[in-house]
């Protein structure tokens, strides 16, 4: 019996998965192959999704974007998606190196569900729904529902991630992360901001500083009240600093091999203050 199945359609993948729910799903391989090469993962059978055209699709609607699970970082950077979801493009730009970005996918970042996954804070800020399909049909989950812990998802046996839908906003967006150098680093702390002018909201999410990807709801509410929404002004450096401190207060980092909790908290403050000034700087955010 063949042990490596290269699926050509979602239906074919779902049929295979329903027969063999414990088969390993392989997308770009940039997380999974590292585990396999290290001998951390025994493989019986693999279903490869990289050649399923439906999973590579994306579309830009007026209010929502749809991005297939197989869309790579390179696509998020080099297509109109980069204008439609600028923070997602910024996050994609920080991932690994060109060959990693050519292979790594949005679905794989979700499947790995690391708190340091760079797209995840952006998805949280854009109110993403993760579209799953499987033996009991399609379901849509928020990131909070989908990611149930560090590297743990609620994917049921036989299910796959089909696509991610998220808000298409006209306001400024920013994703900033910090690591030991400028390329090829896993985030030690990350901040995503997305301005929703209609709802008069600055949506704020945090990466690599908690077991999940939290929205900083108190900092959001606080800063939302201090913006002059008619002119897009009101953010000076004093406000930005205080916002940074509030964001830091809502993070719950730990000490580990990559960094210390104290440094991570400090970094969140600096990144959040910088991101806030950028999303309200002239020329961004739809304000003139």
């Amino acid at each position: 019996m063949t042990n490596v199945i290269v699926a050509r359609s979602v239906d074919e993948a779902l049929a295979t998965l329903s027969e063999a729910p414990d088969i390993t799903i392989l997308a770009g391989g940039t997380d999974l192959m590292v585990e396999i090469n290290r001998g951390l993962r025994q493989l019986n059978s693999v279903i490869a999704l990289a050649q399923v055209p439906e999973l590579h699709r994306w579309s830009i609607g007026e209010d929502r974007l749809m991005i297939g699970a197989g869309v790579t970082y390179t696509t998020m950077l080099n297509t109109k998606l980069a204008q439609a979801a600028p923070a997602l493009a910024q996050a994609a730009r920080t991932v690994g190196s060109p060959p990693i970005r050519n292979a790594g996918t949005l679905g794989g970042n979700l499947g790995t569900a690391s708190p340091a996954g760079d797209t995840l804070p952006v998805l949280a800020a854009l109110n993403a729904s993760i579209v799953l399909d499987g033996p009991s049909g399609e379901r849509c989950l928020s990131l909070e529902e989908f990611m149930v812990g560090v590297k743990r998802t609620c994917l049921a046996p036989g299910e796959l991630i089909k696509a991610v839908e998220m808000d298409h906003l006209s306001g400024g967006q920013e994703y900033l992360k910090i690591g030991p150098r400028n390329a090829m680093v896993i985030s030690m702390a990350g901040v995503a901001l997305a301005v929703d002018r209609k709802a008069k909201q600055v949506r704020c999410a945090l990466g690599a500083v908690a077991a999940n990807i939290p929205r900083a709801s108190e900092a959001e509410a606080w800063v939302g009240e201090r913006i002059n929404w008619d002119s897009g002004t009101g953010v000076d450096s004093v406000l930005a600093q205080e916002f940074g401190q509030r964001m830091a207060a809502e993070s719950s980092p730990i000490d580990d091999h990559r960094s210390t909790a104290a440094y991570r908290r400090h970094a969140v403050g600096v990144l959040a203050a910088r991101a806030l000034q950028r999303v309200f700087s002239e020329g961004t955010n739809g304000y003139v």
Binding site: V6, N37, R38, N44, A50, S97, M184
Partner: protein, 177 residues
């Protein structure tokens, strides 16, 4: 599905540098890097980290720059794989060019001329990555070059001569011999 035989998969065939190559007795978990080197004898592609960090294993899969260590070999059946052995001026090309350059692409010659090769371990990966960059962008800025090579580590040269070689290759390609 989990008898021990099932860890081995039937012979399959890969297209490497334009030729069909049969891969026999391969285990499911073998990477393209492993298969290229250990089963097909294409040792130009180097193995250093097997985790996507160093770029010494990069190849082109259907023209896309890819870390071969992160590709499950059996999933790229039918796709066009180009390794460092497949880069160069083919025999069918202009004979005079072939003579003058010993079959090397301008990028390869520039690495030789600029002393961008010390131990040479990183060189195949760098050549493939630079080739990929210049195909897409013949006139890259210094920033573009640094970005394009951010996934290739070199422990010897300090990168200065590599950047010089890329500049020189660009000039060469603008005004060929």
């Amino acid at each position: 599905m989990s008898n021990s035989n099932s860890l081995y998969i039937n012979p399959y065939s890969l297209r490497v540098n334009g030729a069909n190559r049969e891969v026999a007795d391969s285990q499911v978990s073998e990477s393209l890097l492993f298969v290229l080197r250990e089963r097909l004898g294409c040792t130009g592609t180097k193995n250093a980290c097997t985790e996507g960090e160093c770029g010494s294993c990069v190849v082109l899969v259907d023209g896309v720059l890819t870390c071969s260590c992160l590709v499950l070999a059996a999933t790229v059946v039918g796709r066009e794989i180009t390794t460092i052995e497949g880069l160069g001026i083919a025999e069918s090309a202009d004979e005079k060019l072939l003579d003058e350059r010993g079959g090397l692409l301008p990028v390869q010659q520039a690495f030789v001329d600029e002393g961008a090769v010390q131990c040479g371990f990183c060189t195949p990966g760098l050549i493939v990555a630079v080739h990929d960059l210049l195909e897409a962008n013949p006139n890259p800025s210094e920033g573009d070059v640094r970005e394009a090579l951010s996934g290739n580590l070199c422990r010897c040269t300090g990168y200065g001569r590599i950047l010089a070689a890329v500049r020189s290759a660009c000039e060469q390609m603008r005004s060929p011999l």
